[in-house]
Symmetry: C2
Subunit: 259 residues, 2 copies
Amino acid sequence: MSTEEAKVKLYWLEQSRSQRILWLLEELKVKYEVEIFHRNKQTFLAPPELEKVHPLGKSPVITITPAGADAKPIVLAESGWMTEYLCTHYPEGQRLVPKRWQEGKENTIGGETEAYMRYKYYLHYAEGTLMPYLVMSLVIGRLKGGDIPFFVRPITSIVANRIISLFIAPNIKKNLAMLNDQLSTSGGKYLCYDQLTAADILMSFPLLAAKGRFAEIVPGWEKTYPRVVEYIKTLESNPGYKKSVAKVEELDGKFQASL
Amino acid sequence: MSTEEAKVKLYWLEQSRSQRILWLLEELKVKYEVEIFHRNKQTFLAPPELEKVHPLGKSPVITITPAGADAKPIVLAESGWMTEYLCTHYPEGQRLVPKRWQEGKENTIGGETEAYMRYKYYLHYAEGTLMPYLVMSLVIGRLKGGDIPFFVRPITSIVANRIISLFIAPNIKKNLAMLNDQLSTSGGKYLCYDQLTAADILMSFPLLAAKGRFAEIVPGWEKTYPRVVEYIKTLESNPGYKKSVAKVEELDGKFQASL
């Protein structure tokens, strides 16, 4: 793994999924640069400059320029994929990925460890299942807010509440219940087992950024899903997470985790 | 890979992402069972029986029971992850996954082939980025439909159109533009290179199921993104896809791909 000279750059956007990649880079003990982007204050959209890095103009996106004079930068997008890529190529990644095979069961169906099966599931679940409900609750929630003219807001609020109660809340409840259950069977404080994995880092964004919204969507959630509450606290108090927050405060003056 | 006796079962739901896993199983030449589920006719939600298989009650979900008397079934959810799992364990999977390393560049940063980099990206992108916009367009689109009382529908329609024009349509355009561009540089008819990969199978659901909606959201899309139109036709005419449709017609009487 000739990673010594590869240059890593994270294109960071405020209040975005990029914070977890910053945390991951801290854990991997990789040297990296950060370029800071801010959202448009009116539309809350990412600035168009990000489209120069990746055509979708989203964050996180990272570039890695391998060592060597003729090396072209690799552009990585999709949090789950960049997590896998970074953990594969940097030695500290081994600490963040559970052991794959059970002793003597290498390369057989069902031969994977429980921790590894969970790890790979959450690598896809964080963005493939959990985040879409949270983004939708954010968009639908705006139907009740100040962007809507006050004389139609009573109607749009009824419609928003109906979508939330019929579609969003039941799904968020199911997801919180599953996570609460998984945390009770992981054998530790984290989702896969008793140690931090890169999947926990990936899961940190939806949970930390949305924790303020759960109370609104699922009243009493803290009593119903206590292990999830505990897990969120564990993530927030992790030294690597704190370092990533300090890094943003150093570069950008302030830090806000909300969705 | 002692896969000969493992029992695979797909829990299939009408008008869902499960169709692509059926296609994948056909390509893998795996023996499998299918259990058919239908959506609630009023709410269009998946039936609660699916929650007995996986706590989120979604489809696709598959169980694989390894050979051996004491074997417990493995439950796999998240399309991207089950795709990886199946392609790893079944020999035909090698045909559906691009070669990983460039000759002489094994285990180095940037040593992966372009096709492999694309493959892994799309494994996360299909659900992590593209699907959420399509699901949101479906949910927001209902604000204009018959479920909304006629006397408030003019207002909810204005709001829906605003969300679509400010948030959903620009993002869907960017995604279609990226796919159109990627298809022009893949060196073939598919996204990663000139051959079908499991990533194309994964991408088939959002594209085939949503193609009827693109015209509504992005008028003139067929002229603007001709390679995407061509790609959708290529997927639909693939023998494996056709087999998966025939399988559903055999088991369930009819097949409908819409989202």
